[in-house]
Symmetry: C2
């Protein structure tokens, strides 16, 4: 990829793009993203499932993670359930369920559970309140911690504490690393492009006086 | 991956993990992540380059993105330069530079530029103040917008507006989607595992009355 033509865009070019073109364009720029299904239910135990591609690690101790919601648009049921009950699940995608997962982004009416609509099964772990996706290989149970509103564009960062984890035993390595490629987890680019992965290598902890080695 | 053993962890298990084990474990859980090099320079034009794996899309109009910094630890020079000058660059990794990129996480003293230390070249685009990574195929120039401190663990979310973009022309598709797999962009899992990708498919915009199709 070294001898091709490059194209440069600036703010003015972005403003002139058609809305959907710009959404696809800007969403592609940030690189490959974490893609997860967020499972919730309200106090009446009506379940909800929604796909998000803006999940980030915030810290390991306490174990904090976050994702971005847009309260002004679908899927707002997720946010309502989280605020009502305080609990939600994070479920990784794999090749056998990514189309089902993508389909949760359709705007189903409130009385329809996306679990049913997209043909994914709920599962429950110990006494954790929110529903997990049975077909997911890596599952996290989160306890809501904080909502931070981002006034620049009306989105919110939803921060949770990871309190329950289910992973395939064979994916856990001796140093704590979990091999999510072995678990078949996927990544997304843009709004709708799903990818599996192929490891290049793990690299050693970086120190100023030596080049990283493969571990 | 359906008939293997699953292992379940809860808060108590996390608390009992050794610090580095837990960091590796929790960092693996969020799925594949965006991995980028952030390029900055101070007013004296001393350059800095640092790798981050917590980059997220915030919105398309205005084009906003964000990443998490830990002000209490390295690489704090990035944050200082952003606050001092208001500008920074986001540069995708590819297979030919991922080891160099990883090496930027070593704790170099302030007077050494990571560009020099890890053997990556600076490049400048139009009159944009901050340095890009010449070897990167996808480059974004950002203008600092807001710092949101996350009191739960002392991290900060740094929000920027994308004002300059350079991408390989052949990666731009007719609907605005940018094929970053074709550009060779990588993804990361955990703290140190680098992966290339293989597209399964792009899926059509989801509607309640029809199953998504490959596009």
């Amino acid at each position: 990829m070294q001898d091709h033509e490059k194209k440069v865009f600036d703010t003015e070019d972005l403003l002139q793009m058609e809305t959907r073109y710009r959404a696809s364009f800007i969403n592609s720029l940030g690189g490959f993203k974490s893609v997860i299904l967020v499972g919730t239910q309200n106090k009446q135990k009506e379940t909800n499932l929604a796909i998000f591609n803006s999940f980030i690690h915030i810290g390991a101790n306490p174990a904090l993670c976050a994702f971005i919601v847009r309260p002004d648009v679908s899927p707002r049921h997720t946010l309502e359930n989280i605020l009502e009950t305080g609990f939600y699940t994070i479920n990784h995608l794999n090749e056998s369920i990514y189309k089902n997962a993508h389909q949760t982004s359709a705007r189903y009416p409130r009385e329809i559970s996306e679990f049913d609509a997209v043909k994914l099964k709920t599962s429950y772990l110990d006494d954790f309140f929110a529903p997990f996706v049975a077909e997911s290989e890596v599952k996290l149970g989160c306890e809501f911690q904080q909502r931070i509103d981002i006034e620049l564009n009306g989105t919110s960062l939803i921060i949770g504490k990871i309190v329950k984890i289910e992973v395939p035993e064979k994916c856990i390595q001796t140093d704590g690393f979990i091999d999510i490629e072995l678990a078949g987890s996927l990544t997304v680019s843009g709004l709708d492009s799903y990818h599996k992965t192929e490891r290049l290598s793990r690299l050693s902890y970086a120190k100023p006086d030596k080049w990283p080695t493969e571990i």
